[in-house]
């Protein structure tokens, strides 16, 4: 489903290379975990997948279902089914959450040639998803993410993911900022979306999340490259030995 081939990318503004020849393949139905030290380029990779303009791809390609997405803008990628749950979801004053959900859902439907959702239908879907994530509907009347606690923001991201039903879910440290109960709720939400035709890239620092969302593969990102891949046991090794141990062995 996702093939990243020899990807090189730099910060558009100052030309600093962050991603330096990264290769990664994630198949439909697969859950791939990405781990790596702070500053290794994990969030950058997620932004590049989503199409953020701050980064420039200088070499390599990203194929989504066999098609290069490099020329697509973020909205086109989203309509194709790529979803990024942000490490730091943004607060957008003045845009009511409910209105945003409606516009987002219907924009994607429109780009795919589907009919817009009826208000009642939309409301029912939102209610159901919010209930599963134990979110208060009152929150959705507020401006998007404004004044939400760290944990509430992360839940709101997963709420959007459930509603938009993407094909490729990229979760950037969705576990950070969540208490233990919330982690479980969010992980259940993510697991409920696991399906043979959906792939997930789960970026995390902690084994704990991977106890709930059990990955099919684990990849270690270091200085803009995937330097080591393995199955779920790799995460345990990392937890036990730290990056120094594992990377020392890789080098």
């Amino acid at each position: 489903m996702l093939e990243i081939k020899n990807l090189h990318a730099r910060i558009a503004e100052d030309g600093t290379e962050i991603i330096r020849g990264l290769n990664l393949t994630v198949k439909a139905g697969e859950v791939a975990a990405i781990m790596g030290p702070n500053g290794s380029g994990k969030s950058t990779l997620s932004y590049i997948l989503a199409g953020r303009e701050d980064y420039e791809v200088t070499e390599g390609d990203i194929l989504f279902n066999g098609e290069s997405i490099l020329e697509m803008d973020p909205a086109e990628r989203a309509a194709k089914g790529i979803f990024l749950a942000f490490q730091y979801p943004m607060e957008i004053p003045g845009v009511a959450t409910m209105e945003f959900l409606k516009v987002a859902l219907n924009s994607q439907r429109k780009q795919r040639g589907e009919e817009p959702l009826k208000v009642a239908d939309l409301l029912a879907r939102v209610k159901k998803a919010a209930g599963e994530l134990q979110m208060d509907m009152g929150m959705l009347k507020r401006p998007l993410n404004v004044g939400f606690s760290g944990g509430e923001k992360k839940r709101a991201e997963i709420l959007q993911m459930k509603l938009l039903e993407p094909k490729l879910c990229v979760l950037d440290e969705t576990d950070s900022g969540l208490d233990i109960d919330a982690l479980k709720i969010v992980a259940d939400g993510v697991n409920a979306l696991r399906s043979p035709d959906r792939a997930m890239v789960v970026i995390t620092h902690y084994q704990r999340l991977l106890d709930y969302i059990v990955p099919d593969s684990v990849h270690v990102l270091y200085k803009g490259q995937v330097v080591k891949s393995g199955d779920k046991t790799l995460a345990h090794t990392l937890e036990a030995e730290g990056y120094a141990g594992v990377l020392g062995e890789a080098a």
Partner: protein, 423 residues
């Protein structure tokens, strides 16, 4: 050969048109000798020259240069009332400056101004407020009618009163005179619109008596062929509240002056404004707020969106008198500049003579936040719509501060209508 050394500067075509229109109309203008003298003086100030950028209060709006032409004065033509902003409002229509049929409202008196003008009862109030008061002078010279609304004390009006000033081109001069009695409560909508090339001057006087509460909403949606020169003069009494909401979405050359006097102790003034500017238009909002009494609170937030080659101006002057201790005044002006060719000038000014006050102002000029744009697009919202959503959000924030859904919703609908036509 005699050379006239004192020759006045050559009149601009606009000045000429005004002076000629006056000569043509003066015989029909209502007024006692005192009023007619005031009109003569007002015309003399026009003949002496409209204000230029050298006049401080007109620095960013050189009226003499910008007012390039004034259409011929039409006889009054009847126009139809437009649907009120808030459904169920009492609509008072003035067409081309002349009051139409006057509705009856319990607890209020609604009258036409022509009779009072004729009797000279308004002369004092019509006098221009200073040498630089070009809007007041033009209005005083020509105004022939208008509407007065008096809300009796302690009356709470159930529905807003919408004062519609609708023109069908030509020179149009209107006047509104409104008083809200002690302890009364009322919402007014000043609706400025029309069709065709026009010069509109519209001056409103508003008196909010002690303990009263008034909301004054100006919706200015003039066509791009209209020059709109307007003024709101308001006085706020003791413990009274006045909220002014201003929405400028039209006009080719617009000057909206707000002259507010916080006259009574512990009164409250709130100004919220949105200016949506596009094309080659020029829009100037100039506020002079006098804090004249102890303990009054005021907040002003103006939000601007600038597209095309539009030029915008906000001048906000707050003057705090010596006796106005414990004044709390805050002013902010935020602009979204969406085009390289557009411009917005801001001039805040605080003149404080009291020592125990909290006064502040802030201004920002920004573009659309790229991070916000990315977030919305990453959810599948195409760029154009995402931008629209963010621009609307920027404006909706101040509209929503009105708190009253009955006002917020229709105002946001006007925004949507504007974006539909200009987005």
């Amino acid at each position: 050969m005699a050379v006239n050394m004192n020759a006045a500067p050559k009149l601009t075509p606009a000045e000429t048109a005004l002076v000629e229109a006056f000569a043509e109309k003066v015989a029909d203008l209502p007024g006692d000798p005192g009023m007619m003298l005031l009109r003569d003086r007002a015309v003399e100030t026009i003949r002496a020259g409209l204000p230029t950028r050298r006049v401080e209060s007109w620095h960013y709006t050189d009226l003499r240069r910008l007012l390039t032409d004034v259409p011929a004065a039409h006889a009054a033509v009847t126009a139809k009332a437009t649907a009120p902003l808030v459904a169920g409002s009492t609509v008072v229509l003035a067409t081309a400056g002349a009051a139409g049929k006057l509705p009856k409202v319990d607890g209020a008196r609604i009258e036409r101004l022509a009779t009072q003008l004729l009797a000279g009862e308004l002369t004092e109030r019509l006098a221009p407020k200073g040498a630089d008061d070009a809007v007041g002078a033009i209005n005083a010279a020509f105004v022939a009618d208008g509407v007065s609304v008096t809300i009796e004390p302690e009356v709470v009006l159930a529905a807003p009163v919408e004062l519609q000033n609708i023109h069908v081109g030509g020179q149009v001069h209107g006047r509104l005179s409104v008083s809200v009695g002690q302890g009364a409560k009322a919402i007014f909508v000043e609706r400025q619109t029309g069709a065709g090339a026009a010069l509109v001057s519209s001056v409103a006087e508003l008196e909010v008596a002690d303990e009263a509460e008034a909301t004054w909403i100006i919706v200015q949606e003039q066509p791009e062929t209209t020059t709109h020169l307007a003024q709101l003069n308001a006085t706020i009494g003791k413990n009274a509240k006045l909220t002014v909401f201003l929405m400028n979405t039209g006009g080719r050359l617009v000057r909206q002056e707000l002259r507010i006097v916080a006259a009574g102790e512990n009164c409250e003034f709130t100004l919220r404004g949105v200016n949506l500017l596009t094309g080659s238009t020029h829009t100037d909002v100039t506020m002079v707020l006098d804090h004249a009494a102890f303990g009054a609170t005021s907040t002003e937030i103006i939000r601007n969106v600038v597209l095309g080659k539009a030029q915008g101006v906000f001048q906000g002057q707050i003057r705090v008198a010596r006796e106005a201790q414990k004044t709390d005044a805050k002013m902010a002006c935020n602009t979204l500049l969406l085009s390289d060719e557009g411009e917005f000038s801001i001039k805040p000014e605080l003149e404080i003579f009291a020592d125990d006050v909290a006064c502040g102002h802030g201004a920002t000029v920004a573009e659309i936040d790229r991070n916000h744009l990315f977030y919305l697009m990453a959810r599948g919202i195409p760029e154009k719509e995402a931008r629209g959503l963010l621009v609307k959000a920027f404006l909706a924030e101040v509209i929503e501060e009105l708190g009253d859904e009955a006002l917020v919703e229709p105002l946001e609908a006007r925004l949507d209508a504007w974006f539909g036509a200009n987005g």
